[in-house]
Amino acid sequence: MPDNLSLYIERDSPLQRLNPLTKLAISFSLILIGFLGPGYWLATLLFICVLVPLSIWGKIGPEFLQRTVRLILPLALFLFVMQSLFYPGGRTVLWRFWIFSVKLEGVQFAYLTATRLMNMVGAFLLLLLSTHPSTLMTDLTRRGVSPSLTYILVSTLQIIPQMRNKANTIIDAQRSRGLETQGSVRARIGALLPLVGPLVFGSLVDVEERAIALEARAFKAKRVKTSLIHVPDSVRQRQVRIGLVVLTLVMIGIRLWPL
């Protein structure tokens, strides 16, 4: 279905109308600051005080939270279990059972890693949920980024949902031919080839068709192209972007040359 080919949710909100480059700057600076910035609570604070309010501003609050949690929760659980039990050099034992002991250092490390990942996933999701891929592509191209590069960027963002749809159809077709895809490990491994074959071949066919379609629309033409979609931008947004870049550079600087 075309409607789930990208993560974009169509809503009328100021966030959706922001210039894609501004959102790109917000996402990347949040990610970098979350990872490099000082303090144990920083990533948590960024998520709660910046990302969540932004998503509510963009009228995509529930979807944003739901998807972030669904992506990050299994990973976080895994981190907590592994790190709290096996973190090397942990001394402060919080709790002990059988041969295991949960150490404070491990829990702290897991928390830090999990919140930083949550901040990163959240920042990406905010961008993807509020930005139509073609708007991003148009804007980047207009700014002189090579169309091939933006195409690669945007199509990578889209390829996962596309592949997932295709894979589901192929699995359905093979199950209809009596292929057992559930059950034993052997059955599952046996089911891989009939899936991967058509998936790879189908993708190759797609690539060829796509290349022709792009060429037919003068994708590689050297002239300056005008665009039907007008992507709004403003001086204020430019200032915000410069501010974000400076802030991020400062963070990196502090990290590299601590005072």
């Binding site: 159809t169 359905d172 199950r175 209809s176 031919r177 074959g197 058509p198």
Partner: protein, 275 residues
């Protein structure tokens, strides 16, 4: 064991919230030749995916013989219901046509001799014998479609379903397809096809189900279905040209093939001659 299909009060809603089927009740006897027509998005594909359990009812039941689709895996259902997908490239993965055709019956666990026999028959039926050792992807799309059909027919299921079998096929291939449907009919199999090719449907199917907005609007032989121009119009189906011509000429019964058009026309002329 008779492979009667019994669909009762079937409702289906996709996870996205789209209501695709509303209260469909349909009984299809073993050996029937049934075509499903209706506008894009009317729920045809959704309906036939219920028959082998690819989709399961939100409400209501689907029975194939004595099996409820909810109680068996799709792989098990494949022994009773063969399903030819619209796009052959969704299923082809073996290195040769013969291996591809062998895959389905192999999954069903038939003895080796039976598999070879079924493969041979399916290849012959689809005129693929001389292409048996070719890689399916070296064939054109039309021929790949035939390979996909052979691959399903070789499973020797009592019920065979086709989603849009005629798209992209030239006249000769469509004629061949009609012969294949006839052969399947003679073997006592139930044939169900979705098609937008109204002439093909008129000429080859004894029963037509018309769908619109997730419901069965009409169900019956061509004669009665094509008489309902208004209902057909509501789901963007145009009766065959011959039917419309016959109606404009007011030549009595509803006609839909060249033969019954000519017969009706002669009768009309005779009657006028007598007057």
């Amino acid at each position: 064991m008779s492979m009667r299909i019994a669909i009762e009060n079937l409702h289906f809603t996709y996870p996205s919230g789209v209501v695709a089927l509303r209260n469909v009740t349909l009984a299809i006897e073993a050996g029937e030749q049934l075509a499903i027509i209706g506008q894009n998005g009317s729920g045809k594909t959704t309906l036939i995916k219920q028959l082998n359990g690819l989709l399961r009812p939100s409400q209501g039941t689907v029975r194939i013989g004595d099996w409820l689709t909810t109680e068996h895996s799709v792989a098990k259902m494949a022994a009773r219901v063969g399903y030819v997908f619209q796009n052959p490239d969704d299923q082809l993965f073996k290195g040769t046509v013969r291996d591809e055709v062998r895959f389905g019956p192999g999954n069903l666990g038939f003895p080796a001799e039976k598999i070879e026999l079924l493969v041979q028959q399916a290849l012959t039926l689809l005129e693929l014998t001389d292409k048996a050792d070719v890689n399916p992807y070296d064939l054109t799309a039309t021929w790949r479609k035939r390979v996909a059909m052979a691959a399903v027919l070789a499973m020797d299921t009592p019920i065979v379903i086709f989603d849009e079998p005629t798209t992209g096929q030239d006249y000769q291939s469509v004629q061949r397809l009609a012969q294949i449907f006839q052969t399947l009919h003679e073997q006592g199999k139930t044939v169900i096809a979705i098609s937008h090719d109204i002439d093909f449907v008129a000429e080859n199917f004894s029963r037509i189900v018309v769908m619109g907005q997730g419901q069965v609007l009409l169900d019956g032989p061509a004669q009665t279905v094509f008489a309902q121009a208004e209902v057909l119009n509501s789901t963007d189906v145009e009766p065959p040209q011959l039917t419309r011509l016959g109606q404009r000429l007011a030549i009595g019964p509803v006609v839909y093939t060249v033969e019954n058009f000519l017969a009706a026309l002669r009768k009309e002329n005779d009657m006028q001659g007598e007057r």
